[in-house]
Amino acid sequence: MKIVKIIAIILLVAFVGIQFIPTTRNQSDTVPSTDFMLVNNVPETIQKKLQVSCYDCHSNNTQYPWYNKIQPVAWFLEDHIKEGKAELNFNEWDSLSSRRKASKLRSIIKQIENGEMPLDSYTLIHSEATFTEAEAEELINFITQLKDSL
């Protein structure tokens, strides 16, 4: 019994302790002129879908959930966002060469087709980010067109 109590106290103290470790937040007021939506003629439904399903981790501006400041959640989010932006940042779309754009578009298509993106850990909380079959098809058609027009 005593050992359980000690462990509980340790965990509690650790939990409180880690709250003091700072994390970087991914937020920006401006949308750069290189943004995917600004340089491409993206239909409104697809714009909305991209914003809701992709932009949290693939742009410079995350709509954080209310629990985002609680550790260790904040680290988890920070890591995902960092990784997501390194892979693809929609805000910086137009700074990519045609070759890189084609590569990225191809990856987007594959990942949506295979249901790899959005991540399960993301859709678990953001159920609205999930793609219905029709939405996936619409996006894939649009992205394919864009890729062929490069």
Partner: protein, 200 residues
Amino acid sequence: MSKLKSTLGIVAIAFITLTVMSCKDNNKEQNSTDGDHSEMNHDNSDGHHDGEKKEMAMNGDSNAQAVLNDYFNLKNALVGDDNGKAKELGATLATSLRNFDAAQYTDTQQSELKDIVEDAVEHAEHISESDIAHQREHFKVLSKDVIDMVAITGAEMKLYEQFCPMYDGGTAWLSTKEEVRNPYYGSQMLKCGKVQREIN
């Protein structure tokens, strides 16, 4: 007893905090080395001897040859359906691509090579960490990058550009041998494809 508790508590916080901090630091370090690598690639000296450069390109360059050799090793791993080996070789190829030095080429060639290399590094990195189906998807685009690179750098040996009409709407790759060994299907359809172009 309560003294023991609080001591334990403090030790635990210190331990966890330090562990977590050190993990984060490691991440950062890794990132900054990655950054250095890409900067090295960007560091192209501006060219002067254009004529000389073109001549060198015709003869093939050893830099590009290192990339090609790693590409062929990777291709062979995929032909052999060897996911683990392809992972290793993907990482090797990413390294030789990062070390690729385009300084001997003209400015336009340099910027195109830089673009090719940047794209290829990303695909090679993905190959180093995915399952075999993904590796093959990335190998398709990687092959296009390498074919475009060879168009500029040339190659020391005879190469065959081969083509499989079945994989993802038709897909090409390079081989040093004329006989077809398909890296996109491996043992499933080893000989599917044809030689569509000979280089050198």
